[in-house]
Symmetry: C2
Subunit: 140 residues, 2 copies
């Protein structure tokens, strides 16, 4: 198995609501307005929004109904960028599940949940390099 | 918000078990043997394994205990590669939640769950280009 993730699919209850939220954050998709799955190109991977019941069925798993142990993160280049993005998410209607602050691991982060409760951590890690395209390079 | 995912963190009940599983699939990490979080570089993003209760707390969300509406996918270049990777996952101890077969969207896929129940779809999508590094390029 090659060491990569091709696609992260978020199960959603209301596709239009979810799509509108990510578009309000500035994301763009080539999906048609009536598409039943919405793909966003994100660097080398893809984020997809799809009906949650269909995703559970397709994945062959029962749905526990809430959060299931997966959190996405979006790293930025400074604590001030964390604050700004959390405010942007709040303005777009996100619930802020963790107000920005210093972390136990020496960084600075906050977290918001999208309209379906999928959490995103927004973090500045002073030990992680971000390339110009925003992708992360782990330290050696 | 830039259109990217920096990090996908999977909450796990037993870090050693989870790490051993991904290493059995051929993934490598620079994490120390006693590290309490394990990072795998995957193209421009990072996959992390971390204690599930800590992740829930850090994300500011209650834990529903099972699957929570997120599925990862690993795309490959042919149906035969789907079959091979599903067998590799089975040999590494994964539960196969969806045996490989043709899909309603014109591709071929199967799915396995890692030791913590996090599902991975393994898919061949004839309409999606994979770069040499395995990253996905959506069609225009």
């Amino acid at each position: 198995m090659e060491q990569r993730i091709s696609l992260v699919t978020l199960g959603v209850r209301d596709l239009e609501r979810a799509r509108t939220f990510y578009e309000a954050l500035g994301w763009t998709t080539g999906a048609e307005p009536d598409a039943d799955v919405v793909f966003f190109q994100t660097g080398g991977a893809v984020l997809a929004l799809w009906d949650r019941a269909s995703l559970a069925d397709d994945s062959g798993v029962p749905d526990a109904g809430g959060w299931g142990g997966v959190t996405l993160a979006h790293n930025v280049r400074s604590p001030a960028e964390v604050d700004a993005l959390i405010e942007e998410a709040r303005a777009a209607g996100a619930m802020i599940t963790h107000e920005p602050g210093e972390t136990f691991w020496g960084g600075y982060s906050g977290a918001f949940a999208d309209p379906d409760g999928h959490p995103w951590e927004v973090a500045h890690n002073p030990r992680w390099e971000l390339r110009d395209d925003g992708s992360v390079v782990l330290p050696d």
